[in-house]
Symmetry: C2
Subunit: 131 residues, 2 copies
DNA sequence: TGAGAAACGAAATGTTATAACATTTTTCGG
DNA sequence: CCGAAAAATGTTATAACATTTCGTTTCTCA
């Protein structure tokens, strides 16, 4: 864990929601004066993902810190279109079903992406009130 | 359903696997001499997705025709890293679990992305043989 | 037939990600 | 401590994916 990697991870922790790579580039530039290029940040993100510290949200092209890095993560994301926040959940039953379906196909799975877009409770309520 | 939309859909049907938007731009250009720009193809893809005729695979930034457009599609994709093919499956149990988890959060879901990367049976076997 | 809506064309630009190669930093055996 | 090897980072350029904006064409239907 180097200084850059720690800084990127801290920025992700400090962020309200999923953060794009280019937002991170800007943020790192802001924190100290040394600018970093895209490859640097992407390498850092790849490293953090390998370590299970960060996940990529495919449907947003954005990155979030993992909630429980210690556990083997089998996570799903609920992404609010209203406030752009995301909630990470673990539901091993889904992993089980996916494994079952994969086995039926003879498919050897390596990575899963499970993402649900919609409105979080707060935004759904706000939306209902306004309408 | 216009001529362009039909052509794009046919190209997707004819394709071996997931197709990127820019591959479609090239392919349309090839079929008749009139070139189309990115916005045209993206508009067409958005339309076909709204109609449930096409799905976007988020983890590949690519597009596939839906296998059973008539049914309300609740699909998952198995994507082979070996041959770049994808298989679409329907497993309503997963939709059920996701709905259950969403309800527990008070989350109102609108769209789901479920993608599994790995090796299809053929590629896994080929890989095992080579090793 | 002609007004409004939908679809399409074209240019520019914005956003996300990687290739290729140079340099710096770290590590660790001698 | 020294220097070679490995790991990490910097730099430039470019590839890949997607949208904004505005203007034109085509379709529909009263």
């Amino acid at each position: 864990m180097t200084q850059l990697r720690r800084r990127v991870l801290e920025l992700l922790w400090a962020s309200d929601g999923p953060t794009s790579a280019y937002q991170l580039i800007e943020a790192v530039k802001g924190k100290d004066s040394r600018p970093v290029g895209p490859p640097t940040v992407y390498r850092t993100l790849h490293f953090l993902m390998e370590q299970g510290l960060v996940s990529r949200i495919e449907s947003l092209n954005a990155y979030v810190p993992c909630v429980h890095p210690e556990r083997d993560h089998d996570c799903l994301f609920f992404i609010c279109s209203g406030c752009r926040s995301s909630v990470e959940l673990e539901d091993s039953r889904i992993g089980g079903l996916l494994a079952e379906d994969a086995a039926a196909l003879g498919f050897v799975a390596s990575r899963r992406t499970v993402e649900v877009e919609g409105m979080c409770a707060r935004c759904a309520e706000a939306d209902a009130t306004h309408t």
